[in-house]
Structures are given as structure tokens and as C-alpha cells.
């Protein structure tokens, strides 16, 4: 047991600092991907609720495909196909013929953002539909322009209704970051497998990885709980 703990100490002898650094990369990647997902999700919800059929089809196609395909496949597609696509664009638009490689973090953030965007789309769409139509009519009757109505009536309420669902999406995204280890970003999982490779003690490091994920999910759960309390501060409790 004491031998195990010495494996996890700080500094050159132990792997504790490497694991914690991995956890920070996990957190950063999950945050960037989640924010990107919420942006994509807002656009997706707008598309799915649009009165223009092609936009609706586009939104529907996006959520159906992404939610029906393994996340790992989306990551592979973007990781192996992403560089090709970027190079093709660079060649056709700028006539640049060299080799371009996006780093693992950028591709990981784009891939996970695309995945979590599909789930966020559904959450935000539901939240928009939960705003009573009478309020929109009332705002119009008061003479609010589209932008003012969006900013003052829609956004604050949608944020409140969407928060619990977005909390679930955050948890999914946080856990999905482990898949980016397969394409080489040194986050928790990759740190754990590097450490197990050099010490031959995989059990110790994968258990530590599991504990780090538990800390992250538990901590962020609390944060979302507090955010929900804050968002509901003006609402009468039954």
C-alpha cells in the first residue's frame, strides 16, 4: 500500500503531479468543448425551430446523425479526416500546398463540441418551447423588437429551463474527454496509461484516474446545483 502511495507523490519520483496536470487538461478541454457545444446547440435549436424547412431539416439531420453514431467514431472522423479537410480547404482557397496538422486539443475540442452540441440542441429546443407563447405575444404587444424580445424575455427563461439538462450534457462531455486520450492528448487517461506503462502498475493509476473523474463530476455537479439555485432565485417555490 505504501508503495502505491509513493507512486502518486509529487515531483520526479512520483506521478501525482502528472496526473493532476492531466486533470487540468481534462477540465480545460471539457470546458471549451461544452461552451462550443452550447453555441452550436443554440444555433441548432434555432434551426430546428425555424419556419424555414431547409433549416429544420439541417438541424434534424445533425442531431439524428450525431446521436445515432458512437462518439468515438465522430472523434476518429475528425481526427483522421480533419487534417485532410483543412488541407483541402487551404489548397483550394489559398493555393497552399504544404502539410497542415491541427493539434490534438483543437481537434478534440471541435469533435467533443460537435457531439455535445447535438445534445445541447435538444435541451435548448425543449427550453425554448417551455417559454409560454403568451409571454412572446405580450412582449410583441408591448412593442418589443425581435432582438429586445430575445434578450429580455427568451434568453433569461431559456437559461433557467435549460440548466438541469445542460448539467447532464456537461457530465457527458466531461466523461467523453477520456476518448481524446486515444488520439494523443495527455489528459487524465493518457497520463494514467503513460504512468502504468513505465511502472507496470496499471491498477494503481487507473483507480487514481477514476478518482480524479469522480472528483471532477462531483464538484461540477455541485456547481450546477448552485447555478440552478441562482437561476431560480426569483421564482416562487411551491
Amino acid at each position: 500500500m505504501s508503495e502505491w502511495i509513493s507512486l502518486l507523490t509529487w515531483g520526479d519520483a512520483g506521478w501525482g503531479d502528472e496526473m493532476v496536470r492531466g486533470a487540468l487538461w481534462t477540465l480545460l478541454l471539457a470546458t471549451v468543448a461544452f461552451v462550443l457545444g452550447v453555441v452550436i446547440g443554440s444555433l441548432g435549436a434555432g434551426a430546428k425551430l425555424s419556419y424555414l424547412p431547409p433549416l429544420r431539416w439541417l438541424g434534424q439531420g445533425y442531431t439524428t446523425v450525431i446521436r445515432g453514431v458512437p462518439d468515438l467514431l465522430v472523434i476518429y472522423l475528425l481526427f483522421f479526416g480533419g487534417n485532410q479537410a483543412v488541407m483541402a480547404i487551404a489548397r483550394s482557397l489559398f493555393g497552399y500546398d504544404g502539410y497542415i496538422e491541427l493539434n490534438a486539443f483543437t481537434i478534440g475540442a471541435i469533435a467533443l463540441g460537435t457531439v455535445s452540441g447535438a445534445y445541447s440542441t435538444e435541451v435548448i429546443r425543449g427550453a425554448v418551447l417551455a417559454v409560454p407563447a403568451g409571454q412572446i405575444e405580450a412582449a410583441r404587444a408591448c412593442g418589443m423588437s425581435g432582438w429586445l424580445l430575445f434578450r429580455r424575455i427568451l434568453v433569461p427563461q431559456v437559461a433557467r429551463y435549460a440548466l438541469p439538462g445542460l448539467g447532464n450534457v456537461w457530465q457527458l462531455t466531461l466523461k467523453d474527454t477520456s476518448l481524446i486520450s486515444i488520439v494523443g492528448l495527455v489528459e487524465i487517461m493518457r497520463s494514467a496509461s503513460i504512468a502504468s506503462g513505465s511502472t507496470q502498475k496499471p491498477f494503481v493509476f487507473y483507480v487514481s484516474a477514476a478518482c480524479l473523474y469522480l472528483v471532477l463530476t462531483a464538484g461540477s455537479n455541485r456547481a450546477f446545483g448552485l447555478a440552478e439555485l441562482w437561476a431560480n432565485r426569483g421564482v416562487r417555490r411551491v
Partner: protein, 243 residues
């Protein structure tokens, strides 16, 4: 895009479907029984058992499936006493490690779905069953469980789909299911777009079929809804014939 690759490698990818379905099917099957047991313990009213199930579910839902798979596949190899035990022939195989991890994982998620179903059965019905003299087992079998399952079905349908998608992680421990095969062919042909798009299409088809099947099952298990719809249709016909 090299379209000739689609025809050339499609059969090879199709050959991965049985492995994907075996992984998902077997772990869903065993995981379901595990989940029922966990859900019953979780609602049993016995404190230590409830606490145990709660922490089990907490750990398996709070960590990525990939950690669970790696822990079972690589982690157990660290101990000599496991390597010398009767368990090693099982834990040495990537296939069984993937099955164990997927089973434990879906057991945790499904137990929460079934718990929701059990708790949705009105307490009055349990009391009525008690008043009729049913014992615990009969009450569970005849009153609580059938209604809990009907209630849990939509949630469980989502879980089935999640599991089919999760089997793709088995490719990280060398198993050749759909994703694993696609990955292998990509490393030989350098055609990621073509291969991963084809693999995605296969998954989409599987998911579509499962969604339809669960919908149909849901309809079959809601005779009350079917009857109501039937009455409504008949009423509409009557109105139409009057006009």
C-alpha cells in the same frame, strides 16, 4: 472521396456487426438482471444495502466507461494472485473484459431507470395487494414489476442505444467490431472519411431499427392506449358516416 472504396470495404465492415451486437446484447442481457437486483435493493428500505447500491451507481455513472474497461483489462493484470487464479482465463480475454465492463456499466444506469419505474407504481396498489394477502414476491411479480417495466421502457430504449454506441470502445482493447475493423482498414488504406462514414451509416441503421422495435413494444405494452385509440378511430368513423 474515393467512391470505389465504398463497395470494396463495405462487406468487411458488415462482418463487424455480429461482434457489435454480441457485445451489446450479452451485456444488456446480464446487465438487466443485475439492474433489477440493484433496483430492488435500492428500494428495499434496508439502509446499508441502499447505501451500497447508491455508491455503486455513483461510481459507475461518475467515471468514463473507458476507465472502467482499462481498469478491468489492464488493471487486473497487475496482481499475481489474479494471474494465478481461476479468473485469469476470463480476465485475459479482451472480449470478456469488455463484456464485464459494459455489463457493470449498464447495470448501474439501468438500475436507476428501473428504480424510477418501481417508484412510479402508486403506493395504494401495493397496499391493496397486501390487503388481498399477497406476499412480497407475488406482489412484486404481479403488481409492481409489470408496471415498473412499462414505465421504464422509454428510458430503457435510450439505454439500449447508448450501449450499442458504447461497444465502439471495445475497439480500444483490440476487439474487431465495426469501429475496430474500420480503424484497421483506415491504417491500411489511409481513407478515413470513406471508412468512418460507412461505419457511421451502419450504426445509424442499427439504432434506427432498435428505435422502431422499442416503439412497437411500447405500443404493445400499453393496451389501454391502444384501446383508447381504437375507440377514437371508431368514433371518428361514426361521425364521418353521419355526415
Amino acid at each position: 472521396m474515393r467512391f470505389e472504396l465504398f463497395a470494396e470495404y463495405f462487406p468487411a465492415l458488415l462482418a463487424g456487426i455480429p461482434m457489435t451486437l454480441k457485445l451489446a446484447g450479452l451485456s444488456l442481457f446480464i446487465g438487466f438482471f443485475l439492474a433489477v437486483v440493484l433496483a430492488v435493493l435500492r428500494t428495499s428500505g434496508i439502509r446499508p444495502l441502499e447505501a451500497f447500491v447508491r455508491s455503486y451507481v455513483y461510481v459507475f455513472r461518475g467515471t468514463p466507461l473507458l476507465v472502467q474497461i482499462f481498469l478491468i483489462y489492464y488493471g487486473t493484470g497487475q496482481f499475481d494472485f489474479i494471474k494465478e487464479s481461476f479468473l485469469w482465463p476470463v480476465l485475459r480475454e479482451a472480449y470478456w473484459c469488455a463484456i464485464i465492463a459494459l455489463t457493470l456499466n449498464t447495470g448501474a444506469y439501468t438500475s436507476e431507470i428501473i428504480r424510477g419505474g418501481i417508484e412510479s407504481v402508486p403506493w395504494g396498489q401495493v397496499e391493496a395487494a397486501k390487503a388481498c394477502g399477497m406476499n412480497v414476491w407475488l406482489r412484486f411479480r404481479r403488481v409492481v414489476f409489470p408496471q415498473a417495466i412499462r414505465q421504464a421502457l422509454p428510458g430503457y430504449g435510450n439505454e439500449i442505444i447508448l450501449m450499442v454506441k458504447s461497444t465502439s470502445l471495445a475497439s480500444t482493447v483490440t476487439l474487431l467490431e465495426i469501429t475496430g475493423i474500420a480503424r484497421k482498414i483506415v491504417s491500411q488504406t489511409y481513407a478515413p472519411l470513406e471508412l468512418f462514414i460507412m461505419a457511421g451509416a451502419i450504426y445509424l441503421t442499427i439504432v434506427f431499427v432498435i428505435t422502431r422495435a422499442v416503439d412497437m413494444l411500447e405500443n404493445r405494452l400499453s393496451p389501454d392506449l391502444m384501446a383508447r385509440r381504437h375507440v377514437k378511430n371508431a368514433a371518428e368513423r361514426d361521425i364521418a358516416s353521419v355526415h
